[in-house]
């Protein structure tokens, strides 16, 4: 669906922000993009949205170069939820907020409202049509932003740090929402700092470091075989402990639940012998 071929980008000459990046996103995939601040994660997504154009290389969407597209054109296919979504909200009601996109691309008012209603329902905000966006909780605002993106019926959803500032319960709720959307066939790219989310939710991870892709593959392998700290990532608790326990026969698991199971299995095995 989306393809980067040797893409480079820089704001100033000789100071590349992203260099020689190649990757493919397939329909319906759930991918995490991680890396320390300034590693080029956000630039990667800005390139996808055509907010910036590559200096070298090509970006293809459905086989066509995105060079001639403006961000508003990309918005018909790709939803992008910015970090801290309250900054983009400005309507008096949630439904108007969500209908903004469809109306901008020339959809009739009735259809836009219909689409907006559906999008609100998808994120679990049905009944909130007339709510005042500024009065919503952080978690609800975030879901409202997702609804705004979904109202354009995208095939790919990009989220930049969607869970920051939310309480743990809202966070869990939000991640379940993403799971649902993913199961319905939506491709998702999640930029996150939260390694626990990564370990528990996302199968494929792309690690960015100094403007290049340094890892692209399964999340489990990433934590099992790579020292992620050299890329500025924090090891999840389960990974740290799992590594320390492996000499004692406990199999590796990047998640807490997995580690508990492995620990128990090890003990049963020990007793069984």
């Amino acid at each position: 669906m989306l393809e980067f071929n040797n893409v480079s980008f820089s704001y100033h000459k000789n100071c590349p922000v992203v260099s020689d990046l190649s990757l493919t996103v397939n329909p319906g995939e759930y991918i995490a993009v991680v890396g320390r601040n300034g590693s080029g994660k956000t630039t990667l997504t800005r390139l996808i949205m055509s907010l910036v154009k590559p200096v070298k290389g090509t970006i293809l969407f459905d086989g066509e170069t995105t060079k001639k597209y403006a961000p508003a054109d990309m918005a018909r296919h790709i939803g992008y939820v910015f970090q801290n979504p309250s900054r983009q909200m400005f309507h008096d009601t949630a439904i108007e907020e969500v209908a903004f996109g469809p109306l901008q691309i020339g959809i009739s008012k009735d259809d836009a409202i219909k689409q907006a209603k559906e999008a609100l329902a998808k994120v679990g905000l049905n009944g909130y049509e007339t709510a005042y966006p500024s009065g919503l909780s952080k978690g609800q605002k975030q879901r409202l932003a997702v609804a705004s993106a979904l109202s354009m019926a995208p095939r790919l959803l990009i989220l930049d740090e969607p869970t920051s500032g939310q309480d743990q319960q809202d966070k869990a709720l939000f991640l379940t929402l993403l799971d649902h959307l993913h199961q319905k066939g939506l491709a998702i790219i999640l930029i996150t700092h939260d390694m626990n989310i990564l370990a528990e939710k996302v199968a494929r991870t792309i690690v960015m470091c100094d403007g290049t892709k340094v890892y692209d593959g399964s999340t489990a392998n990433l934590f099992q075989f790579h020292d992620v700290e050299k890329w500025g990532l924090k090891k999840p608790t389960a990974v740290t402990i799992s590594h320390k326990l492996s000499p004692y026969g406990v199999s590796f698991s990047p998640t807490v639940d997995g580690l508990i199971a492995e620990f128990k299995a090890n003990e049963r095995g020990a007793v069984g012998v």
Binding site: P71, A75, F82, F90, F100, G101, Q104, I105, S134, A149
Partner: protein
């Protein structure tokens, strides 16, 4: 600009404006502009100051043309352009050689401008870069939601509210935090100590008497 107190510079902006209004000779006005340019060079201002000055000069040319189109009198048009140049340049000169905070401190301490307004002024300046980057982010966020910049003037103007409204709302919600923080930090107490106040020295008196002499000269002449 050398060892002159901020207050003297404020007086300088007024005096130069007065000269520019009073003078009608292209030569005399050129001297005023020339002296300011010289002061810029002597004050070792940054490149962007010259850029601002050049921009101003462009505007002066535009004014010259405007004047000339309506009244084809080269001398009169030249006077108009130079007057504007002299009046606007002095602010660029003073701002390039003085910290804004020192100017406001002088206004509060020596001209008795109430502190609230000086604070309002510097705080507005403090938030300009923040809101500038915020406006870019908002523009991008809306673009990713399909924000379009097409259509006729009225439509584009109304559409632009998608950028302006979030900014204004952000300012309103920030104002509450800021007002609370101001009270926590004792804003408005009578005890306030008015930072560093620069008293006038012999440089200032020399400069001020120079300005008075020139002004008198212009008016008597």
């Amino acid at each position: 600009m050398f060892k002159v107190a901020p207050l003297t510079k404020i007086v300088f902006t007024m005096v130069v404006s007065l000269w520019a209004v009073a003078l009608f000779s292209p030569l005399a006005l050129s001297v005023v502009v020339g002296v300011q340019l010289l002061l810029m060079v002597l004050g070792r201002v940054e490149a962007k100051t010259y850029k601002a000055t050049a921009y101003l000069a462009l505007f002066a040319v535009f004014l010259f043309l405007l004047q000339y189109v309506f009244v084809p009198d080269t001398r009169l048009a030249l006077v108009t352009g130079l007057k504007m140049m002299a009046m606007a340049m002095v602010f660029i000169l003073v701002l390039a050689t003085t910290r804004v905070q020192d100017l406001t401190a002088a206004l509060v301490g020596q001209c008795r401008i109430p502190y609230e307004y000086a604070f309002m002024f510097t705080t507005a300046l403090r938030f300009v870069p923040d809101f500038l980057s915020e406006s870019r982010t908002i523009q991008e966020a809306q673009a990713c939601r399909g924000y379009s910049t097409k259509g006729n003037i009225v439509k584009r103007m109304i559409n632009f509210l998608a950028i302006v409204k979030p900014l204004v709302l952000r300012a309103i919600s920030r104002s509450e935090t800021m007002a609370l923080s101001m009270e926590l930090r004792g804003f408005g107490s009578q005890k306030r100590n008015i930072g560093s106040q620069v008293a006038l020295g012999w440089h200032d008196y020399t400069a001020l008497s120079g300005m008075v002499t020139v002004t008198l000269g212009i008016f008597l002449y």
